[in-house]
């Protein structure tokens, strides 16, 4: 079952109702676990439900057994390993087992793997979000070993890992933060306001994901499908494709995250934010604080800190990001282009550390870098660098990536005007700190939750327009959105 369907919305809604009914009891985890199990068993009941044609939802084709049972089996194994860790309060073995499970799935799903059954099973598990729930499980085991989950039962922890809104698309929430939210006292006004805010956030996410995503995808398609070659390169085609792909990835992922965060509010739970206007950042370090922040925080806490502190002090700022971002690349898929993408980001982070050292050594450089024009130039550079790295992210193999790099040079020479427009747009975007800060402050989870205040808050009125536009799109076209959630394939 795709997570961005009416069916999944119904499943989340049913889990939310059950959660509110059981919230004050010790069995509240049952509601979340049942929601998660409903999702993992969907290959069994989904075809039966879709015997009748339902508008906007295509009837799924029959599935092989590995595809039906693997997601459920991997999920149950994950819960079992977490329980071992919770019971023993020792993290090493369960973390190693969970890491091995993820490594198995990632290698078996790689294009070069020729074990057909393992590959089918692994790809099915990835489609069901194993990359996300295993990372949440690892964090839960580590937190349990540090005594941070002492008040939580096995059912609570299983319910957390199965929490339907974020189950297969993130953010990678920490168990301790989740339980703090789940146990806070019930306040009727705040809860109703929070749920309304959640619905608005879902509308905002749908607008990004569907409306903006469809437009960006259209322009990104020639690049993303790797159909651009030397012989049919129209001036500007690759530049347009790459920048559109950059926008597409952002609206696709952050739109889906908005929906997940909004759906969590229907349970009265605020989960962590995952995006904070990442393309308006003056360096790669800040970019990673704003792009898929729950993953970068996870990598920081459980890989970067332990690896970095074991390296010589002079080596750590340069070697540790290369290692960690290399692993981050492989988390997306065990292929050479993903590894190259990760290493490019690691090298960029290391280069930023070297740049900071230069800044500290030179008063003039420090003054220029801290000025508005300096920050603008750095933001444009960061946007261009991140966009360049998407070439490796999107390529099926290194050869295609290098062809695209060569084509990009050619295209930039052929279409300097387009390059100039992209640079000017990025500069203008980073040059309006007032607008950026306003968007950032309202993009955060702390918004007004009283309905009377919401009616007057500009952001919620924009959300309402987003919902109307999405509704109009469905009524007029009567088609499901194309493309799906990109990060569900990692």
């Amino acid at each position: 079952m795709d997570v961005l369907t009416i069916d999944y919305a119904a499943l989340v809604g049913a889990a939310a109702c059950a959660w509110w009914a059981l919230r004050r009891t010790r069995y509240s985890g049952v509601a979340l676990l049942a929601g998660g199990l409903g999702f993992f068993t969907s290959p069994l009941w989904y075809p039966w439900i879709h015997k009748q044609d339902i508008p906007l939802v295509a009837a799924p084709p029959p599935l092989p057994a590995a595809q039906i049972w693997a997601p459920l089996a991997f999920f149950v194994i994950t819960l079992g390993i977490v329980e071992i860790g919770r019971f023993t309060k020792k993290a090493a073995l369960p973390v190693a087992l969970l890491a091995l499970l993820l490594i198995f799935v990632k290698t078996a799903s790689a294009p070069w793997c020729d074990a057909a059954n393992a590959s089918t099973a692994a790809r099915a598990a990835i489609g069901f979000g194993i990359s996300y729930f295993v990372l949440r499980a690892i964090a839960a085991v580590i937190e349990a070993s540090r005594g941070l989950l002492d008040g939580a039962s096995a059912l609570d922890v299983a319910g957390f890992i199965a929490f339907p809104p974020i189950l297969s698309l993130g953010p990678i929430e920490r168990a301790s933060a989740f339980f703090r939210e789940a146990r806070k006292p019930f306040e009727f006004i705040q809860t109703i306001g929070g749920a309304a805010a959640g619905l608005c956030r879902i509308g905002e996410g749908m607008f990004k994901f569907i409306i903006v995503g469809e437009i960006a995808r259209k322009y990104a398609e020639p690049f993303a499908s790797n159909s651009i070659a030397f012989e049919n390169l129209a001036p500007g085609a690759l530049l347009t494709g790459i920048f559109s792909y950059s926008i597409y990835l952002y609206v696709n992922f952050s739109g889906a995250t908005d929906m997940a965060i909004g759906a969590s509010r229907l349970f009265g739970i605020k989960v962590c934010e995952n995006f904070d206007i990442p393309y308006a950042r003056p360096n790669l370090t800040e970019f990673w604080r704003a792009w898929h922040a729950s993953l970068s925080t996870w990598l920081r806490d459980y890989l970067f800190f332990p690896i970095g502190k074991r390296m010589p002090r002079s080596l750590a700022p340069f070697a540790a990001p290369l290692v960690v971002m290399g692993i981050c690349g492989l988390w997306h898929g065990v292929t050479q282009p993903f590894l190259a993408w990760g290493i490019l980001h690691g090298a960029g982070l290391a280069a930023h550390q070297a740049w900071l050292k230069l800044r500290r050594a030179s008063a003039a450089l420090d003054t220029i870098s801290g000025s508005i024009p300096g920050r603008t130039v750095m933001t444009v550079f960061t946007v261009f660098y991140v966009t360049f790295t998407w070439i490796f992210f999107a390529a099926p193999d290194l050869q295609t990536a290098f062809v695209h790099v060569k084509l990009l040079m050619l295209d930039a020479a052929n279409a300097p005007k387009l390059l100039g427009i992209a640079a000017a747009a990025a500069a203008l975007w980073s040059f309006i700190p007032g607008l950026r800060d306003r968007l950032r402050s309202t993009a955060a989870s702390e918004r007004v939750t009283l309905l009377s205040q919401m009616a007057l808050h500009w952001r919620y009125n924009v959300d309402l327009i987003c919902i109307l536009v999405v509704a109009a799109r469905f009524l007029l076209t009567k088609t499901a959105p194309e493309g799906g959630f990109v990060y569900n394939s990692f």
Partner: protein
């Protein structure tokens, strides 16, 4: 900048670390850091900085900082770092 004259608080075992943070992370022209001044949330010290401080503490003070203690909240200000230093076992 002389080692003790640049520090507001009285010198002691912690002085070397205070100076290290001052010289390594503080903005240009800063001559002192208050014990409660924010380091991480203010952006002075980032993840790379935390790793650098941990390495410095371990090598200079001969203590072992546990992985569980390498977290931004333990490096938020000099007081938090002092508390971390005090509870970390010597080797």
């Amino acid at each position: 900048m002389s080692e003790s004259g640049s520090i507001e608080n009285p010198p002691g075992d912690f002085t070397a670390l205070r100076l290290f943070i001052l010289q390594r992370f503080a903005k240009r022209g800063t001559t002192s850091i208050d014990d409660r001044a924010s380091l991480v949330k203010s952006g002075l010290v980032d993840s790379f900085g935390i790793v650098e401080i941990v390495s410095y503490i371990e090598s200079e003070y001969h203590v072992r900082i546990a992985d569980a203690d390498v977290a931004p909240e333990h490096f938020e200000n000099l007081n938090a770092i002092r508390a971390l230093l005090a509870r970390s076992p010597k080797y």
